[in-house]
């Protein structure tokens, strides 16, 4: 499975966000989209997620021999910062992914436990999200993404509020997620860029 962008450009009114993008993001790799603020990293992620449409060019998701347009139901988002239901437990936070997929509560709980285990948060599963550290919240967001079993994980500036130690831990986590599917990270963090298998620099695109 891969995501292929051919001569993609995006414009809002008179402003061109990016143009002439050619890129391919492949399953089993962690890809980094880099570039300065305003270069369109988040917008490209939104296009891959199907939240925005390219102004020109094509964006295809290839599965086996067939291709299809971007579909939000294929994508798990890890947003910038740490969105969480503060008063609820880490388990509850992760369970909303499988529940949205139609899992019954017990299945959702099992998927959530598995996902928390994969990101190393089993020990805080029943702790309220608001008591978790910034790094733990970021991993919680990845656990939520993993629990949905969606083939594409998009992360927007996931290390924005993390220190170096937590950023290294996040890089390790991203590396561990490679077998999950296509992992694309919009970032300008050198640690995450260095750990990525493939880098798309929007400034040079």
């Amino acid at each position: 499975m891969y995501v292929k962008v051919t001569d993609g450009s995006l414009r809002f009114a008179e402003r061109t966000v990016f143009h002439g993008i050619h890129a391919q993001f492949v399953s089993g790799e962690v890809s980094a989209i880099v570039g300065p603020s305003g270069s369109g990293k988040s917008s490209l992620l939104a296009c891959i997620a199907g939240e925005l449409e390219l102004s020109t060019g094509t964006l295809e998701i290839a599965t086996g021999s067939s291709t299809e347009p971007p579909d939000p139901t294929n994508v798990a988002w890890v947003p910038q910062g740490s969105n969480a239901l503060g008063p609820r437990s880490a388990m509850d936070n992760v369970m909303i992914g499988p529940l949205a997929e139609g899992s019954d509560p017990s299945t959702a709980a099992q998927l959530a436990r598995d996902a928390l285990h994969r990101v190393g948060l089993s020990s805080v599963a029943h702790q309220r999200a608001r008591t978790l550290s910034g790094g733990e919240l970021q991993r919680l967001a990845f656990a939520r993404a993993l629990s949905t079993n969606r083939p594409i994980i998009l992360a927007d500036e996931p290390s924005a509020s993390l220190d170096a130690k937590n950023t290294h831990a996040l890089a390790d986590l991203l590396a561990a997620l490679r077998p999950t599917g296509i992992v694309i990270v919009a970032t300008h963090d050198p640690i995450l860029i260095e750990s990525a298998s493939r880098v798309l620099d929007l400034r040079r695109a």
């Binding site: 939240e51 798990a76 910038q80 609820r88 949205a100 139609g102 949905t148 927007d156």
Partner: protein, 348 residues
Amino acid sequence: MRLRRDFWTFSALAREAWKTLIDARSIFYVLPLVAVLAGITGGVLALDASVNLDHQLVVADRAGANVLTVRAANQRDKVQISRHSCEALASSPDIDAAGLALPLRDAYVPQFGRTVPVIGASASLLPQLQSADAVVGSALTKGGAPSRLTIPGAGNALTSVRGAPQPDAIGTNSAIVLPLSVRTQSASTCFVIINPLRNATRAAAVVVAELDAVGGPVIAQPASVPTFDPVSGFKARQDQFLPVVLGAIGGLISAALIATQGSAWAAYRLSGTSRRSLATIFTLLCAVPGGLYALTGVAFTAVVMMVVHSPGAVALEMLAGGCAWTAIGAAASLFVVARQPTNLAKDR
């Protein structure tokens, strides 16, 4: 762009909304408390309006607004109204009491140490005459009536009770009232006390039609015509819409709290929750306190049902308030539903 759909079940969404509401550390925990307080407030306002109406009715009653005096339409006619037909009115719907009341004489009453007027009245007009030989007008004594009365020409050991205050127009408050003699079969005047919640003027035609009178036509007139009709004022009062207004305010508070939690809603949306499912959670977040508000108001009204006028109408107003809470809260939250999840994620 494809329309995103998800596979949330309604029970799972309801559980999410419920957990959000009942968590003591959640900002939404305040909503059930606000709903209960608002429900009690709505009930108290209805109770206050009823108490005000009762007070106004008492004032109007004392002035005789609900007393119809039936007498000759033409003063020159010597009209006689049948006692039987007058007293029979007391059993008609919307009529509290009816009968004759005739001044008999002034008599010296030793128990009072002075001369007081003595009136003969129908027991159907003054029901206390059914349980005592004499009724002492409420203005004659501040405490209870003497247990025995001596009234020349009537008896030496008459049992007596203190009369309940009557409309001034009947004239029994400052007199001692005895049962009317069986020999009295007619009189020139018939008194009719209409239910205070009914309009005496409108009842006049019915009353006249029911009476058996000879000697000329009769006319029924209120003893006093109030400048303000308390019942019409009660029905037209604007504060009957306060339960709905309170519900609407509750809905706006719910929507405001929802709007402050963009980051949390982003967690749902970015986990595959559709706009429709998020809107369902928001509707439930408004419907639960809205329902609690209506339930509290209705329960409060049920408790004070004997004091509140039209408790059914008050209950309906509270239910309308609960619906307003839900509808306005859910509608005002739609802009949160419409926001892009990636934008919601930037809220802090």
